[in-house]
Structures are given as structure tokens and as C-alpha cells.
């Protein structure tokens, strides 16, 4: 179906069902229970799952398949956000023109940056992309203020033209009248489920782009990209010029990032330069490797994992810890809380950094590989070599 093999179709169907059922699946605990803080089924967080999932899926097409490590993808995220807010300002709060513009502009931007950066490979490529992203960030902060509104961030003001707005138009982002921040709440015996328009909008787009990435993975183009990662010399001596392929991958992943940035602004009509900072680029790298670079589902898992823990860890504070360990003797309780304290609340970044290191050190294949290792240990199957090779991001021996 849809140009996929049977196995892939089943896989896609499972992904679709899981995605659509997310508002229910991520609310496993009743609202009044102590564990309710571990619920993740509220719109803001779920939207971020979907949006950063898209970002990571796109990044994976470049890094996972070709092995080119870009440290500048946040620039495209920012470009996407700015595009959408500009369309709000000029036309109306309908997100469609903005998202289209976001994809187009980030694609063009990626074409320019990619064309230059891809003349180099390896670490030079990483640093070139980093330089471009930092440059865009600095420009967005200073000279381009008329376009980006500098430090304040771009937002819609009352005196903006908004030529397509009339009396009946919604005054917040919407999709042909479906307002993003509206939702249906359902209270079922203590469980509270929120079905938000914004989440479903993001989720459906995420499913579509996931399907596209699946097609790319299984296409001749996908195989070419993996071949580039493995051996550019043979690629050349097979009559293939690697550069257009890598450039295409770069542009596609840039467009994914632009779309993700656009969606961020579609959920919350703001765009700020800090979205383009290189730490944001680092985050998407982490999501991709945490999940498993080069695998289909890995980056999505990685994105969800990081956004979930970011949310949970930042929320926990000492009081909550004390209630958890209240059963223990006081001294031990205090000691445990004291030990955990640096990692929670504002210390989330410390946890993130540690996680980053642990994954790279012990699980270079990411969660997917970890999962398959456990699975194989349980089922007693020998680890197939095939998996190993598919999931390990190896740098390509590039031709100079």
C-alpha cells in the first residue's frame, strides 16, 4: 500500500494509531493520583513531541543516512518560525500560507548553505554549518531587526496589515477556522483526556512527513545516501557524483526543520532568535543519536524521550522528592534528596549532558539498538550483524 512493502505498511499503521491515540496513552495515571505529574498528555507537551519529532526525522535524513553532521540546523528552525509569523502579520492567522512559506524559504536557505558547506566534508562541514547558523543567529539579533524584531522576538501587533482578516476570523492561529489552541476535554472516571486541535494538526503533519521519510529510506535515493556514508571513492568510480545527492538530502532536511519551526509558531504565534542558537542545533543531534541515527523510528523516539524528560525533570522539586522518599528514615531521605537535587528542576541540563555522554559512550546505536539488544537477549537470538551496521553512524571516508 502507498508504495510500501507489507512490513512497512504495518509499521506505518502502528505509528499512525499510536500517534492518534497519544492523548490517551500518555495519560496513564488518574488526575488526582500522586503519579499524575508523570502524565504527558497535555497539548503543549504533545505538540512539542510531534514538532521536534519532525525536526529530528528531517535531521536524520541528512546525518543518519549520509553521515554529514550538521551543527547548524537550528537556523532553519528559526527561519521557519519567522516565515509563519510574517504571514500572520501580513495576511491572517491562517497557518497554511505561513507553513508553505516556511518550507520554501528554509529550503532555499538550505540550498545556499548546503551548496557552500558541502564543498567540505567531515569536521570542516560541521564547523561550516555551525558558522552559518551562528551567523544567522547574530544577524537575527542585530542587523535584521526589521525582519526579526531582534531581542524582543517577532510577534503580531494590532496595527499589522493582516489583509485577509475580517470580523469573523479567529484571532489566534487556526487552520481554516479550526483554532489551534482549542481542545476537547474528556473526563472518564478520574482520567482527564485532552484532545487538542493543535496536537492533531501537528500529529497529522508528522505522520505525513514520517511516511515521506519512510519512502526516502526505501528509495534508490536513500540507498545512494547510505552508499555515500560508506564509501565515496567507490561512489565516484561507479559514475556517481555524490554532491547533488548530499545537497538534496541537506535541502530536504532543511525543509523538515523549517516546517518544524513553522509549526512552533503555528502553536504559539511568536518567533525569537534564540531558536536559532547552536544549543538548539545540538539538541536535535542529541535526539537523533539518542533514538538511533539512521533508523526510521529512532529520531522520533529520541525527540519524545528528551522532551518528556525535560518536562518532567524541570517540574520536580525538592518537596516532591521529599514526599517520594518520605517512607525512608529522615537522614537517608535528606541524603537522597540532596543527591538528586542537582539533576532536577533547573538542573535538567546537567541530566541532559550526562545522558548525552552515556548514550555516546555505551549506546552509540541509540535506544533502537539498545532495544534490539534487549530483545535479542530475551529471545536468545544472536545479534545479527546487519543491525549493527545499519545503526552505527560511521563517518564516511570522504573524497577530497
Amino acid at each position: 500500500m502507498l508504495g510500501l512493502s507489507k512490513k512497512d505498511t504495518t509499521f506505518l499503521l502502528i505509528v499512525i494509531i499510536l500517534t492518534l491515540a497519544t492523548p490517551i496513552l500518555l495519560q496513564p495515571f488518574p488526575e488526582n493520583s500522586a503519579l499524575a505529574q508523570f502524565n504527558a498528555g497535555y497539548p503543549d507537551l504533545m505538540q512539542r513531541f510531534a514538532i521536534f519529532g519532525i525536526f529530528a526525522i528531517g535531521f536524520n535524513i541528512l546525518f543518519g543516512l549520509t553521515g554529514y553532521l550538521s551543527f547548524g540546523h537550528a537556523a532553519f528552525l528559526g527561519v521557519g518560525s519567522y516565515s509563519v509569523v510574517w504571514m500572520y502579520k501580513l495576511l491572517s492567522y491562517n497557518v497554511v500560507p505561513g507553513l508553505i512559506l516556511a518550507i520554501v524559504v528554509s529550503g532555499l536557505f538550505a540550498l545556499l548553505i548546503g551548496y557552500i558547506s558541502l564543498r567540505r566534508s567531515g569536521i570542516y562541514f560541521s564547523i561550516l554549518t555551525l558558522a552559518f547558523a551562528q551567523m544567522s543567529f547574530n544577524l537575527a539579533y542585530s542587523v535584521l531587526t526589521p525582519l526579526t524584531n531582534g531581542e524582543t522576538g517577532l510577534q503580531v501587533y494590532l496595527n499589522d496589515p493582516q489583509v485577509l482578516m475580517d470580523e469573523s476570523s479567529p484571532t489566534s492561529p487556526h487552520f481554516f477556522g479550526i483554532v489551534m489552541n482549542e481542545s476537547v476535554k474528556l473526563d472518564v472516571g478520574g482520567w482527564l483526556f485532552t484532545f487538542s486541535n493543535g496536537y492533531y494538526f501537528c500529529a497529522i503533519i508528522a505522520i505525513i512527513v514520517f511516511y515521506l521519510s519512510m519512502r526516502i529510506f526505501r528509495s534508490p535515493f536513500g540507498i545512494m545516501l547510505r552508499a555515500i556514508k560508506t564509501n565515496q571513492t567507490r561512489m565516484n568510480y561507479t559514475g556517481l557524483n555524490p554532491r547533488p545527492y548530499t545537497l538534496a538530502a541537506f535541502v530536504i532536511s532543511g525543509m523538515y526543520a523549517g516546517l518544524a519551526g513553522g509549526l512552533l509558531a503555528a502553536m504559539d504565534p511568536l518567533a525569537g532568535a534564540e531558536r536559532m542558537q547552536w544549543t538548539a542545533s545540538g539538541e536535535v543531534v542529541l535526539m537523533t543519536i539518542l533514538g538511533g541515527a539512521g533508523t526510521l523510528m529512532g529520531p522520533v523516539l529520541g525527540a519524545g524521550f528528551i522532551k518528556y524528560f525535560e518536562n518532567i525533570f524541570s517540574k520536580i522539586n525538592d518537596n516532591i522528592l521529599h514526599t517520594w522518599f518520605a517512607a525512608l528514615p529522615d537522614g537517608i531521605e535528606d541524603a537522597i534528596v540532596f543527591l538528586i537535587h542537582p539533576f532536577i528542576g533547573k538542573g535538567w541540563h546537567l541530566t541532559l549532558g550526562l545522558m548525552f555522554m552515556l548514550v555516546v559512550i555505551f549506546l552509540p546505536g541509540g535506544l533502537i539498538e539498545g532495544g534490539s539488544r534487549i530483545w535479542n537477549a530475551v529471545t536468545g537470538k544472536n545479534r545479527r550483524k546487519k543491525h549493527d551496521a545499519e545503526h552505527h553512524p560511521k563517518p564516511a571516508p570522504h573524497v577530497s
Binding site: R218, S219, I223, K229, T230, Y237, G239, A389, E390
Partner: protein, 252 residues
Amino acid sequence: MGILEVSNVNKRFGGLQALGDVNLDVAEGTVHAIIGPNGAGKSTLLNVLVGKLIPDTGTVMFNGISVLGRKPYEINQLGISRVFQTPEIFTDLSVFENMLIPCFAKRDGAFRLHALESIAAEKQLIEKAEHMLAEVNMADKRHMIASSLSRGDKRRLEMAMCLVQEPRLLLLDEPTAGMARADTNNTIDLLNEIHEKRDITMVIIEHDMHVVFSLAKRITVLAQGTPLVEDTPENIKGHPKVKEAYLGEAAA
């Protein structure tokens, strides 16, 4: 007129004359070996043939088209394939995927974005790849990851990847370097078989005289960057100049 004509090629590296007035005429359908002691310029010559080096003077014509200044992928598109000293294959891909790449390359030549096509739909190409794998007796290894193949099998796979493109000229750079005797003999048999079946022109750069004399129809002896003699294997065997070049029998 041969299919590959090298005329008056000179190449200097600083003070070193790597190639001096090299003339070579490879007839279509033959197996032509280039031999010579270490530092004779064999590798330099090969690098000129594949576009990696541009000579100071001279021309290299393939089938009436100059290859000089062309990128390796352009030269491949002209119909020249190359087998490396250490097999260059896509080690992270499966054997079958390795075979698919040259099949796609053959179909497209230039870049085409087929990002949303399905590989499974390319029945003809798949058939072609499978056929070629069967021909080199690797059909049963099609799902193996290329990095886990034995050295001999890697060589076989690389050869198959070159052959599936149906090149008009196959360049072989010491195809048996570092191989055990048995593997070497297998490779010789494979090459002979390929040559008989497909009539592909081959240029072999080789150290091992056993390999050269089992394969070549014509031999050029290179010494200090200049061709010494060119003749049939029988005549080369006892040639005094060759002995001189190899053994340094200056007195002879």
C-alpha cells in the same frame, strides 16, 4: 586504433620524472598488463588514466574522447571501471545493495532525485543485480553485510559491481595483492572467465608475474617512468631488457 591511446604523457613531481614519454595503445578486447619494478610509474600512470592526476603533457584518449581533466565519475560514465588494490565496496551495505548502486548508476548516469520511488518497483534492475551475483557465485551471500565478507569475496563483489555496469574497459590495480595463493588462482580464473564471456578490454597493473603471465595477451614493461618494451607474454619472458630492468643486470 586501440580503444585506449596514451600518447607522449609526461608527469613530473618536483624533480622526479614520474612518467616520461609514455605511449600506450590498448587494442579493444585484449588483456593488457603493465608491469615494472617498484617506482616505475605504474600507479602514476593508472592515476592519469582515471583522471586523478593530470599529466604535464600528452593526451589520453578513450574511444576517441579525451579523459584528461574529467572527474572520476565522468570517466566512469565514459565506460571505464576500476578495481582497486584493496577492494572499495560499500562496507555498511548488504551485498545485494552493493550490487544495486552500480545498476542505478548505469541507468541514470547524471543525478536524478528519485526520492519517492520504491526500490522494489525496479524489477529489471533487481533482476540484473541478482543475475550478476549468481554469475560470481555470491547469490547465497546476498543478505550479508559487505564488511563481513572474506577478502576474496570482497574482491569478487567489487568485480561484479564493475562488470554489471558493462564497462568497455576494466582497469585492475594489483587485483591479487595480499591474497593467498588459492585466492589468487580463483581470481585469475574469474578474470579469465569474465574476459572469455564478455570480451571486455582489461588493463592490469600487477607485480605478480604468475598473475600477469596467466592473464595478459600483451605486456608493457615500464621502467623509470618510460615504457621499455611492449610485446606478447612469450616474448617478454626471455627479453634481456626486462631482466635488466628487474634484476639490474647492467652488464647484460
